[in-house]
Symmetry: C2
């Protein structure tokens, strides 16, 4: 891992932020920036999470995805427990620099703690399909992926489930 | 647009939320849920934004992306000004239902108010490339897209730039 510190630039003008090469990320009132993570090969969306300034610095330095867990209020080196480390192939910033896009390779091929390849394995009918659905008002989701890549119990054991109600 | 109301389910158990078909989204302390929007054809990441409950309902009913603008504190029917409406091909929820993935078709092919096809047109060197970069600590981003699809001045005129410093 590079020991070179990462310094973010102050946000001075819209042109600097949108059209320049300065890395001047916008952290929200919680000190966080949204991160979207896709599979570098398939392009599939794997997860959406957050980084604080330290997590973003560590990701740039190490080339491995480090997030900030809101539920644990701590840095979260993805894959440290499961072995499913995310190697960053590309890290992009959006126009106003309040969102990070990571294109990653995942060791093992799964990203979801429930055991599916992607966290997004259910879809909601919209528009005409929603209007045509038999149910009144209540929406039934439809599974798009039914095959788990791993058994969460084997990988995580008795660790508490990260999903909060 | 379907006049059928959309009712979200209460979040009762982890199993219900993760393994069931109930639509039981988790809105954060601001009443918002994160949304990731990709191009249904190319798979490219177009934008990351937020919805409140009303925006999510309207999106499901209409089949067009409606977000909640944090800066304007108002519903945001994407493309209403620019004509670049997003038609939703697929709407997915993640495992713990605190993130929405929209796969959309965009009229006109551009999603970024700066004029690029995608909001993500600059990348940050990470890991070894970061370590090898000449600059000390300060990060210079690299443009991955240099061609604008439209001229923002023609499309938006004198409307205020949405980017906040």
């Amino acid at each position: 891992m590079s020991k070179k510190a990462v310094v973010f630039q102050p946000r001075r003008t819209v042109e600097q932020v949108e059209e320049g090469t300065d890395l001047a990320p916008k952290f929200d009132e919680r000190g966080l920036i949204a991160v979207v993570t896709t599979d570098a090969t398939s392009g599939e969306l794997l997860m959406q999470a957050y980084m604080n300034a330290e997590a973003l610095s560590l990701t740039i330095q190490s080339g491995e995805a480090v997030y900030y867990s809101r539920s644990h209020q701590a840095l979260w080196h993805k894959g440290k427990t499961s072995g499913l480390v995310q190697t960053v192939r590309e890290l992009l910033l959006d126009d106003d620099q309040d969102c990070v896009w990571l294109k990653v390779d995942v060791a093992g091929g799964a990203s979801c703690h429930v055991g599916y390849r992607s966290c997004f394995y259910r879809r909601v009918p919209v528009g005409e399909e929603y209007a045509a659905a038999q149910t009144e008002s209540v929406v039934d989701m439809i599974f798009t992926d039914t095959e788990k890549v791993f058994d969460p119990k084997e990988v995580y054991g008795d660790a508490p489930n990260p999903t909060k109600l």
